[in-house]
């Protein structure tokens, strides 16, 4: 299907950015800043670091809009990808700095531990991305059940759908989300934030 054809907006945006239209940069920001910032914040859990990633990502897009290849996917996914890359770099830097601060100059954190952190931060950020891009009916159902603590019967009533449908949406929404956990960790020990060996 046409799923690889980026929508017209994306192509036009790319052309406008390439042409050096500052107004296009503003529109790009308006469309994606919340995505970039929240993804970076979810990965890095730090406001300043997320601001920095946001600045870097938009600068990268603005400096080289041609790097976007519309045949490869939407601009949104490209921007999310750049965000993820920058955030991973940020996370590694921050982890290295924190480790050095605690264990003295030159000390290097356990790479496996670091990978675990990167992975769990990635899963969290991906889950947000999936939640924000999933079909609205599924997202609404999840929000009612999770955020507002409605049971599925109330959820059905709130949404004006059958209970069957409400159960279906909740299950399907979670199935979509579960794809964010790229590699379910064997042994369900919680991700190793703050665990130092």
């Amino acid at each position: 299907m046409a799923k690889d054809t980026a929508p017209r907006w994306d192509r036009r945006m790319q052309q406008r950015l390439a042409r050096g239209e500052a107004a296009a940069l503003g529109e790009l920001y308006d469309r994606f800043a919340a995505l970039v910032h929240s993804q970076a914040h979810r990965m890095l859990d730090d406001e300043d670091a997320a601001d920095l990633v946001t600045r870097e990502v938009f600068a990268q897009v603005w400096e080289d809009p041609e790097a976007y290849d519309p045949r490869q996917g939407s601009m949104r996914s490209w921007v999310a990808h750049l965000t993820h890359r920058r955030s991973v770099q940020g996370l590694r830097r921050a982890a290295a700095r924190a480790y050095e601060a605690e264990h003295g100059e030159g000390a290097v954190p356990d790479p496996e531990e670091l990978e675990r952190r990167v992975r769990s931060a990635t899963a969290a950020a991906r889950a947000d991305y999936i939640a924000s891009s999933m079909p609205v009916p599924l997202r609404q159902a999840l929000e009612l059940a999770y955020v507002q603590r409605r049971d599925y019967r109330q959820t059905a009533a709130d949404l004006g759908v059958t209970e069957d449908e409400a159960r279906r949406r909740l299950r399907l929404g979670l199935q979509l989300l579960s794809t964010a956990n790229v590699r379910p960790l064997e042994g369900s020990s919680p991700p190793g934030y703050g665990r130092v060996r």
Partner: protein, 455 residues
């Protein structure tokens, strides 16, 4: 909610029904993920990995483990339909399976929860899925999206533009409109569907009195769209009120636009408003200097486009504040540089407003007419704080030039307070501040300031 009892009876009936007539095919829930419209592209590539964001592979971060390529099918295909009715004393397998999402979210009844949990001890596929869905619940969070710091936008833009200057910049005179529409848009993105219907009372000052008009958050946006449309029309863009006979007066335009939208407006009004403001900024950028002075008629008065855009930035901020108040959000004032320009516009409009009021017998007579362009009797408007400065308002004629030497009175006001007066949010008598000198001049200027307000 009222219908709970009934709802749950309905649910049981449904479940009993399912039990009596076990379907020959998979439960409705047996959707195959691949057939769903998945998010266009899995987001950020995998962990250190890059799994699914395969495409832009030259940017691969590199070193990661392989990723599964597609979401697993949610269901091992094999297990069984038709369902053996014996799996559970109460509910058949497929009903329990259908409940797994609700169960993982703790959104089913106690009996259902117990039935599902019994089932999980004896059905491996369901137990697998249950684990996966429970993990997925762990990825949800309630903290919502953090509000973006509105100041970040200009930092990001400045950073970008310093690395690669724009070939087609946004004109400086369009910057306040750009910033204010972006700020309001960010607020609108964060509010819920119901909040679009929150009541808003728009207030202004007319015929020497405070008046008001009730509408909703969505109605306020339509008001902005309708009046911004004056600028669109002046630039040759589509006027949201259509071609031809659309009125010029902002109030008439608003009323006409409001009455043309029959069902109560919803959040759907955001998109056309935003598209129009983006288009205005873009058009102004391309036309640049050539259109800065183009005249935009508001019916009873006209402004050069650059001032009209500043006026719209001001209105956007003021109404953004109305909306924020209605939905209980914070809404800070514009940047000092932009606020300063807004105050300046009002100060420049005051001599004409004074003359108009004098003509209508609402302000005292001119006391000292001077030749055009010469310094005339003036009021020193001293705006304090954020965006402040000193302005000298010519009192007797718009043709005279305000001058410090001929100041006969002084008013000191905080910048935001002055803007609230311009917007008709406080009355001229409330706008105390420091006052010194000719009482009549002070009174006339404060009332003229309030008279700049409109719907």
């Amino acid at each position: 909610m009222s219908g709970d009892g009934r709802e749950s009876e309905g649910g049981e009936e449904e479940v009993r029904g399912a039990r009596r007539i076990p379907g020959p095919r998979g439960a409705a829930d047996d959707l195959d993920l691949e057939s769903m419209a998945l998010p266009a592209l899995p987001p950020p590539g995998g962990a250190a990995a890059d799994e699914p964001v395969p495409e832009q592979s030259r940017s691969a971060a590199g070193d990661a483990p392989e990723a599964p390529e597609a979401p697993e099918t949610p269901e091992p295909a094999a297990h069984g339909d038709p369902e053996p009715l014996t799996t559970s004393p109460v509910l058949p397998h497929r009903v329990l399976k259908a409940l797994l999402g609700a169960w993982a979210l703790s959104a089913c009844s106690a009996e259902e929860t117990a039935a599902v949990e019994d089932h999980l001890t004896e059905c491996a596929p369901c137990a697998d899925e249950a684990l996966r869905l429970r993990d997925a619940v762990g990825l949800l969070h309630t903290d919502g999206s953090l509000d973006l710091d509105p100041k970040l936008r200009s930092r990001v833009m400045d950073g970008c533009l310093s690395r690669r200057p724009a070939r087609i910049p946004v004109p400086e005179w369009a910057a306040p409109y750009d910033a204010e529409t972006a700020r309001l848009d960010a607020l609108l993105r964060d509010i819920g569907n119901a909040e679009w219907h929150a009541p808003v009372r728009l207030r202004w000052f007319e015929a020497e009195r405070e008046v008001s008009r009730r509408t909703t958050v969505a109605g306020v946006i339509n008001h902005l769209t309708a009046v911004d449309g004056l600028l669109s029309a002046a630039l040759g863009l589509d006027d949201p009120l259509g071609y031809g006979e659309a009125p010029l007066d902002p109030t008439e335009r608003t009323e006409s636009y409001w009455s043309s939208t029959v069902p109560p407006p919803t959040r759907a009004v955001r998109e056309p408003w935003r598209a129009q403001s983006h288009e205005l900024i873009r058009t102004a950028s391309f036309a640049g200097r050539n259109v800065a002075e183009a005249s935009v008629s508001y019916g009873t008065f006209a402004l050069p486009l650059q001032d009209a855009l500043l006026d719209r930035a001001f209105e956007c901020w003021v109404h953004g504040g109305d909306i924020a108040e209605a939905v209980d959000y914070p809404y800070p004032s514009p940047s000092a540089a932009h606020l300063h320009k807004m105050i300046d516009l009002a100060a420049r409009m005051l001599p004409a407003a004074l003359a108009g009021r004098r003509g209508a017998g609402l302000a005292g007579p001119a006391k000292d007419l001077v030749t055009a362009g010469a310094p005339g009797r003036s009021l020193h408007l001293e705006i304090e704080g954020h965006g402040g400065g000193d302005w000298y308002i010519a009192l007797d004629s718009p043709a005279a030039v305000g001058s410090p030497e001929r100041a006969v009175a002084q008013v000191a006001l905080d910048g935001v307070e002055f803007c609230r007066l311009v917007a008709g949010r406080i009355s001229p008598v409330e706008a105390a501040g420091g006052q010194e000198g000719d009482r009549e001049a002070i009174r006339d200027v404060l009332f003229a300031t309030a008279s700049l307000s409109r719907l």
